[in-house]
């Protein structure tokens, strides 16, 4: 998927997520993934929104997002110049004979075995979303009982030319 990553710094208050989501829903744009958690400074949260490039003309939505009173800063992260991570939890149906194969797969991908049952096993894996996609595909062969991914979070890479490209930033007053 050719995607955009928006990193939106917001005041951490009730209703903010509904406002953000409403702007997308109203225009019938689908959010591919969404991750929200408190940011480094108190009273603020960072929302990481991944949208499909083709489905959403980003400029207008970014401007509309920026109009929200509680939105402080919006950065668009270039996927090529940012680090992206995601966490996956999966419970896979495995017979005792197949268990070894799945554990081996998990080891190759540097995943962790969280729980083992008689006919199932629960694995966690974090990493680049593409890596998670590959892992998920391989697991599918065994029969996935339940799978949950967190949606990606991202930060800009640390080298010089790939700093945050600030789309919009509300500076101090005056």
């Amino acid at each position: 998927m050719n995607h955009h990553i928006l990193s939106v710094l917001v005041q951490n208050r009730p209703g903010v997520l509904a406002r953000v989501a409403g702007l997308f829903a109203r225009r019938d744009y689908n959010i591919f993934s969404l991750a929200v958690a408190p940011a480094e400074n108190e009273g603020f949260s960072r929302i990481t929104i991944v949208v499909d490039v083709d489905s959403a003309p980003l400029e207008q939505i970014t401007k509309q997002l920026f109009k929200l009173i509680e939105v402080v800063k919006i950065s668009e992260l270039d996927p090529l110049r940012s680090v992206e991570r995601e966490l996956l939890l999966a419970t896979v149906r495995v017979s005792p004979e197949q268990r070894g194969q799945v554990v081996e797969l998990a080891t190759i991908f540097e995943g962790k075995i969280l729980a083992v049952g008689v006919e199932a096993i629960t694995i966690s894996l974090d990493g680049h979303p593409d890596k998670l996609d590959d892992f998920e595909e391989l697991l599918a062969g065994y029969g996935i009982v339940e799978l949950q991914r967190t949606g990606r979070v991202a930060l800009p890479k640390l080298d010089k030319e790939s700093r945050l490209r600030a789309v919009a930033h509300k500076g101090k007053a005056g």
């Binding site: 005041q11 209703g15 009173i69 500076g171």
Partner: protein, 582 residues
């Protein structure tokens, strides 16, 4: 000082300078109505909450101050949705206070509970549910700041009943505290100097410039600055529906309204221009017609305080985010500087003579009625206009009568025209006129309404009578939903579907009288003038004049929906020379 939340709320409104509010009490907002008895704020008791909202809008339109409405929870809050959306679309500063069920009952489907902040989220600039009495003063201050600065708009404060009853220690946040509490709200008012210079360069180089001005001029109190810019550059001005009055209609440079029912000259001047100097306007679909064919040869300078308007419809060559008044003043300076340093001004002579030619050949026109024929609505408006006392404020509903009002009135002063432009809210005019009259009691306020619109909110005339707010209402009564009828005639093969109201019902004169107004019925052209004279002479109660007008009359010119501005339909008498609109 200990206060109840209710006392703190009313005191906060007083501190914000609120002199009047429009509302209707009910269960959850009850505590706030008690300290109101001891307050300096005048409260106007409406008959329906929607009326309170439109009154607040009308008040804000003519005074520039935020209109305030206060109602209870549930159905009262949902009745407020239409005025909030109306104010949002037309950028009207308005603060609405709604009651809410007690904090302990929220989310339990309690009596008269609804998710007010959820429902109004997309029709307000900002809204907030206040969960502690201590936060009320800050919430009020934030709401007023957000409603009145940047691009103005409606805000809403939802207050649970127990929050009104609880006690708090009174404090009044400082300006700095309010600004600090809104780290994500920093409206940009000063235009970028480089962009302003770029704009000045384009203006001096343009051979076919037009000032395309919208409601933003009025919000920015920029009418004087606009006039200076227009006169200094000698560039013609078109005023959109929301900007009527922002530039005087009797000024030689004024071309009037463009758009779907604009006049041929204003429409064509935009179409043929090589530079649209867009000030506080937003390329609304009613102005552009089919966007891909709109002003095809024009470069665009776009001045707007809302960054999201830049490039939303038409990609500007020079975007300037800022307050219209400040930007125009800078623009005037920049143009002067460039001229003084020898930058030549392009010759606009040929362009100006083309415009004069269009004006001569394509004036607004309608066929006057022959003796014995039905009364023409345009004639009624001309008579209302010619007999209106100096400074009269005109307030319209939505439909044919609104377009005729905008076309045939002469707006020579800002803030004398109030209408529902963006949302197109039928029923707007009666309550909005009441709000306007409350804001400007020194002015005559005429509401021009249709018979369809009038029946949506007429009950507020009871409010007007009881509160002694003597507005005047002219109903252009054609017994039809006239604009819909016009579309069905023109685009649906005269198949009239559900547009015929009734010539007999209601009896508008009796209805007016029942509401404490003077009612007058006018059937023929000879009765028009005496009825208007009588209406203008009454100042102790509202007056309703029921003008029985020709139902066949249509609004022209017209750019059919979805068509380009070059496809405009002129009155029959002008169609043969349409080719001259080149």
């Amino acid at each position: 000082m200990k206060l109840t939340g209710a006392q703190a709320l009313i005191k906060s409104l007083e501190m914000e300078g609120v002199e009047v509010m429009f509302g209707l009490p009910g269960g959850c907002i009850l505590p706030a109505y008690d300290p109101l008895l001891d307050s300096s704020i005048r409260h106007i008791l409406v008959r329906h909450e929607q009326g309170a909202g439109h009154m607040a809008e009308g008040y804000a339109h003519v005074t520039g101050r935020p209109g305030v409405a206060m109602v209870t929870s549930g159905p009262a809050a949902t009745n407020m949705v239409t005025p909030l959306c109306d104010a949002y679309m037309d950028s009207i500063p308005m603060v609405c206070i709604t009651g809410q069920v007690s904090t302990t009952a929220i989310g339990t489907d309690a009596f008269q509970e609804c998710d007010t902040v959820g429902i109004t989220r997309s029709v307000t600039k900002h809204n907030e549910l206040v969960m502690t009495a201590q936060n009320l003063p800050m919430a009020v201050r934030q709401s007023f700041r957000i409603a009145t600065t940047g691009r103005p708009g409606p805000t809403l404060i939802d207050v649970p009943k127990d929050v009104l009853q609880n006690s708090m220690e009174w404090y009044w946040p400082t300006d700095a505290e309010v600004v600090d509490s809104l780290p994500g709200y920093r409206p940009n008012v000063k235009g970028h100097p480089r962009m302003i210079k770029e704009a000045a360069k384009l203006i001096l180089a343009s051979e076919r410039p037009i000032l395309y001005v919208g409601g933003g001029i009025l919000k920015a109190r920029a009418a004087d600055a606009l006039r200076e810019l227009a006169e200094m550059t000698d560039i013609h001005v078109v005023t959109t529906l929301m900007a009527r009055g922002a530039f005087p209609d009797d000024h030689p440079l004024c071309l009037g309204m463009p758009g779907m029912h604009g006049n041929a000259t204003a429409i064509t001047a935009l179409q043929r221009s090589d530079l649209l100097i867009t000030l506080g306007a937003r390329f609304d679909d009613r102005i552009t017609g089919k966007v891909s064919t709109f002003a095809p040869d024009a470069k665009v300078i776009h001045v707007d305080i809302d960054p999201a308007e830049q490039g939303k419809v038409r990609r500007p060559d020079v975007p300037i985010v800022g307050d219209c008044r400040l930007v125009i003043e800078e623009l005037i300076r920049a143009i002067r500087d460039m001229e003084q340093s020898g930058t030549p001004r392009a010759d606009t002579g040929a362009w100006k003579s083309r415009i004069s030619g269009w004006r001569e050949q394509f004036p607004l026109s309608y066929e006057a009625s022959e003796p014995g024929e039905a009364l023409k609505p345009q004639y009624c408006l001309e008579q209302l206009r010619d007999n209106a006392p100096e400074g009269t404020i005109l307030v319209s509903g939505v439909g044919q009568h609104q377009m005729w009002s905008s076309q045939y009135w002469r707006f020579n002063e800002p803030y004398t025209w109030v209408n529902s432009g963006g949302l197109g809210t039928m029923g707007f005019s009666v309550p909005a006129a009441i709000g306007a009259k409350v804001g400007r009691p020194d002015r005559t306020v005429w509401a021009v309404d249709g018979d369809g619109c009038f029946q949506m909110t007429a009950q507020e005339l009871v409010t007007a009578s009881v509160e002694r707010i003597p507005i005047k209402v002219a109903i252009l009564n054609n017994s039809y939903l006239g604009m819909v009828r016009q579309w069905q005639e023109m685009f649906y093969d005269e198949r009239y579907s559900e547009v015929y109201l009734s010539p007999e019902l209601p009896d508008f004169v009796k209805w007016a009288e029942a509401m404490g107004c003077v009612g007058i019925r006018v059937d023929s052209p000879e009765e028009v003038q005496p009825a208007i004279d009588k209406a203008n002479s009454i100042d102790d109660r509202p007056v309703v004049v029921d003008f029985r007008v020709d139902a066949r009359e249509k609004v022209f010119p017209m750019v059919p929906a979805g068509m380009g501005n070059d496809d405009l339909i002129l009155p029959d008498s002008q169609m043969p020379r349409k080719g001259a609109l080149k």
